[in-house]
Each structure stands twice: as structure tokens, then as C-alpha cells.
Symmetry: C3
Subunit: 137 residues, 3 copies
Amino acid sequence: MKKLIVLLFLLFGSIYIYAQKIPYKVIFDLTSKDPANHQAVLRQARSIIESRPDAKLEVAIYSEGIEMVCKEKSAFVKDIEELINEKKVAFKVCGYTLKRKNMDESQLIPGVKVVPDAIYEIISRQKEGWGYIKVAQ
Amino acid sequence: MKKLIVLLFLLFGSIYIYAQKIPYKVIFDLTSKDPANHQAVLRQARSIIESRPDAKLEVAIYSEGIEMVCKEKSAFVKDIEELINEKKVAFKVCGYTLKRKNMDESQLIPGVKVVPDAIYEIISRQKEGWGYIKVAQ
Amino acid sequence: MKKLIVLLFLLFGSIYIYAQKIPYKVIFDLTSKDPANHQAVLRQARSIIESRPDAKLEVAIYSEGIEMVCKEKSAFVKDIEELINEKKVAFKVCGYTLKRKNMDESQLIPGVKVVPDAIYEIISRQKEGWGYIKVAQ
């Protein structure tokens, strides 16, 4: 019985400690074609990784958001390339959206990843305990 | 003590297995009157149930979103009726919004359900572990 | 072994009971400068605290949402002051946004609080089990 109590203490103790230090993990949900929204999420990501170098950030892009990561259409190619090169922020585009828009990976800014389904990517991260932020104004 | 260890293994083993197979459960939050948003969520729901027949989906509709499920105002009556008839997607409208807009259930597309409070419906699903997607552009 | 089973029953029993009564805790995410969105979240907060006096509500304000809580710019100074005075809804503004907009606390409606980082405030609440609602149309 003593060992049991010790075990349960360790278990709940570790849950308690965990709760004290909430890690900075966020998945951003971007479906807007408005460059003001693209700029906002890039500014927020930059600000977070500067103040919290341990942060893990992802931007899930689908629906009309896809222009943000298109080589030819994005107003923020440089900012996105820099964040990708620093390996601090992952940009993940929805495969369904690409297909629906008759686009392929070669049209994306290099380093942007394709996931089969951006919504499943988002809900999987939520389930894993990541924070969720919808980018919209 | 052996039995205890076996029990704890079973407990954490099952948590682990659970984490490996993240179920496809999503509540969509729709407050927009823009038909582009209505179309987007309907297209996403259709795409999900085709690729993942085990998915559970709900669309919580409140505030200015209510036009999407109004018989007289929706641009997508047929699509919504089909999704309801296939019993794959639940459409739940906020009772507070109905009241505020001086509307009643008879004005809704048949099969659309009324919940007392759409925000409470959403946070309850979140608490139950469903994914959350805000529909907005 | 008996004691163990009792303990595990108590543990899972309490988790079960907890799941039955989902508390009304919500963090609203507001980044819009559109007064229609300000009005919507204030109306929703008012409605919730009237029907559920036990509710805990927070509005996290950042990016272009900041005008909502500016003394000089908000269209809803009275409504916000009332909610603050009733101690039912906390309004928390992002310190990064204030700095970026060259604003200081004296320009805010009295009682509005400043947090260092609104996104971290939001994901911390999510991690604590609060519901999350993005305010957008």
C-alpha cells in the first residue's frame, strides 16, 4: 500500500508540475486571403519565437488562405522563407485545397509542407494539447 | 505489487493507444452571414465524410450565421438537406439567436436542431475532446 | 488489492462526475476592429452571465481588436464598464499590441487588464480546460 501511495503521488505530482509550466505550442488556423491576416500571423510568430525560443509553432493553411504560401501570389515570401530557414515555424498546406485549386507543390514557397488534410492536422494538434488560434479579423 | 504494475500498464497503455488513433470529431463554429463561409464549411464537411466515414461532425450556428440554415435565405438548402439525410453532419442552431431574431423552428431547414446555447454546445464538445474549427475568412 | 481497486474507482469516479458537469468557462479571442464583433461578444457575455451566474469569462484582446477597449475609440465604453464593475467578465489586452501601437494603459477603459502576451493567455486557458471561442464573422 505504501508503494501505491508513492506511485500515485509521483503520478499526480508530475501532472501538477506539468500544469505549472504550460509549454508554448500553437497551431494557427489560416483560411483568409487577406494579406492583413497573413501579416498578422507572421508578426505574431516572429514575436513569439523571439520571446520564447522554446516555442513550437505551426501555421495550417487551407481554403482561401493558400495564396499566403504561393511563390507568385504571396506578399510575404521573404518573411516566410526566413521563418522556415530558422526552423522555428512550420507552414503546412492542405493537400485537398491544392488539388481543388489545381495547384501543385512546385508553386509553393520552398520548405512549405503539404499535409493530406489541414483540418485533421489541426484537430490532431489540439488533441495533443497544442493551443489553437484562428487567424481572422 | 505485480498486479498494480499490470494495472498501471493497462491504464497508460490504453491512453497511449488512444493517442495513436485520433478520432475525427469536429465542431465547426459558424457566425458569418457570408455565403462563402457557408459554402466552405459544407464543402469541408462533405470532403471529410467521404474520406473518413467514421467522422463525427457538427456545425454550431449562431449570431449572424443563422441565415445559412433558414429555408428562405440559405443559398445551400439542398446541400444541407443531403448532409442531414445522410445522418453524417448535425446542424445545431442557437436558441438565443432564434429568439433574438424573432424566428422560430418552422423557418429552419427540416432536420436542423435547436440547442439552448450554441456557445455552451461548442465548449462542451471541446471538453469532450472534439476538435474545434472556427469558420471565418 | 482491494484498496487499490477502491482508489482507482474513486479516481475514475471523480473524473466521470467531473465530465458530467461541464463548467461554463470561456476565453473569447478578439482581434477585430469591426464594432459588430465588439457588440457580438459583449452581447454573448451578457447573455451567458445572466443565464449562468457561475460562468467565468475572459475576453483576450490583441491585434486590431484593441480599439474595443480604448476610452477614445470604443463604441461600447458603458457596456464594458458595467461588465467589469459586476466582476463577471475580465478584459485582458495584449502588452505586445499596446507597445506596437504606441499606446499605454492610461488610454484603456478603467479595469481593463494588460497581460504580457494575449496568445499565451489564450493557450494557457485552453490548457486549463477553458472553452475557446474566436470572435469573427
